[in-house]
Symmetry: C2
Subunit: 241 residues, 2 copies
DNA sequence: CGTAGCTTTGATGTAGGTCAAGAAATGTGG
DNA sequence: CCACATTTCTTGACCTACATCAAAGCTACG
């Protein structure tokens, strides 16, 4: 509704009027539920929908012919998911729930209906898509040029910032339902190495990831260690008043 | 104009009317020229413009504090560049020309002016942005899960497909102004290793990259070797008639 | 025609992968 | 609330793909 994580996120970028917010809540109509273990949509599908994630986590991924996979995006509440799937003839990726998921189904016409009347919302939406792209770019940089330890730390910090924007977690840490296997497929590492790196971060006194919870012991230290700069998340408060 | 590489590309997705195309050519007004060696815009800049590349190649990149860099996108004629720079408060990346570049400057208001009157164009534009994201995703997958040789081969094949869409290159190959250093920063490798991999691809009879030209000797073989599937470029002819 | 930037190659080092196996945690049915 | 199965985590030993360092041969162009 008016205070969905998605609306909350958009408001970080543009100030939205009540009528704008009403249009947002229109998009939030067709609620769907998904359980882990079954894809929300898959690569090759031609009639895929997009979704706005309300609760739970999901991940987008691509499977290679040699059986390995690369997770291309981790989605948390408030995130939009599957834009490419509705714009392309066939989806180029898969999305699966990490936890039980509650999400609103969005079809292409919903989207353009919403844009037609409320240009301000179109701006906000394009911003959200660009922010997702910025996150993708930062992952790319990590895979290309950061060490495994920096990559893991950077990712944990990014999640903290993204969750905070939608009101989840706090300064001390956050609940994270990802297994080390998921972390590995996200960060282009082996699960074994993720485990070693996590121990390294723990022993260095930076952060702990255990029993489904990320806890920060030394945030400034971790920031410095990972060369983390949150600018790419563009969270500095409403730009368009 | 009516047959700019950008218009040509959009037409691969939607059938555009003459009046749609006129609006596109409106965006193509403010022609600018850039020479290699100086950024078109840089990270941290607050008043950056976006551009539609008419001729020449450019690259977007991010600099890390340890002095390494990661190229996040290679832009060829017809590509749009700098969307995040105009939507974000400050640009999160740099763009520099690889060759002399001719490009049309686009400001945020041009964009929304164009969208307001011609929704079909907005769809086409959103498609172009999503296609750029798909390219990004595929690079991410390469960095995370493909071997250096597959990564290089995949990249050469992708460029061939992208150039073909805007009428550059042919079945035998294409002109490529990238140095092995640029290739290395794009693919997350060292320049030395890029050189070795290029030799490997040459000796395997797949492709040659020498003197600024990529030449394919065994396209089917290279497709198979790299696990290349062009679906993510979404080139199957106009979807929206 | 000189010099700066590319390309090529060899020798050596290392981050992170793979394999293997045991210990914790978590889930399931009774 | 327990017994058992399954998944996840953890650690050690070993290996390989790619990095780094170094140096020589090209190319181009001012």
């Amino acid at each position: 509704m008016l205070d969905s994580p998605f609306a909350r996120k958009l408001k970080a970028f543009v100030t939205l009027s009540d009528s704008d917010l009403n249009v947002v809540s229109t998009l939030d109509k067709r609620k769907r539920h998904f359980a882990p273990g079954r894809d929300m949509f898959h690569a090759g599908q031609t009639d895929a929908s997009a979704f706005i994630l309300a609760t739970g986590w999901a991940c987008g991924y691509i499977l290679l012919t040699d059986g390995t996979r690369q997770i291309t995006a981790i989605k948390v509440p408030g995130d939009f998911l599957g834009l490419r799937s509705i714009l392309f003839r066939t989806s180029d990726h898969n999305v699966e729930p990490i936890t039980p998921v509650e999400a609103s189904e969005v079809r292409i016409n919903d989207l353009f209906g919403a844009f037609a009347g409320t240009p301000r919302l179109a701006i906000a939406f394009l911003w959200a898509a660009s922010r997702d792209e910025a996150i993708l770019v930062e992952h790319l940089v990590g895979l290309g040029r950061r060490s495994a330890a920096q990559r893991v730390g950077h990712f944990l910090l990014e999640l903290a910032a993204r969750l905070k924007l939608v009101g989840l977690g706090d300064k001390t840490g956050y609940d994270c339902p990802m297994s080390q296997y998921l972390l590995a497929d996200t960060l282009g590492l082996s699960a074994v190495h993720v485990n070693r790196v996590l121990r390294e971060l723990r022993e260095a006194g930076y952060a702990t990831f255990q029993l489904g919870r990320v806890t920060f012991q030394d945030l400034p230290g971790l920031f410095a260690f990972c060369d983390f700069n949150a600018n790419y998340l563009d969270h500095d408060g409403p730009l368009l008043k």
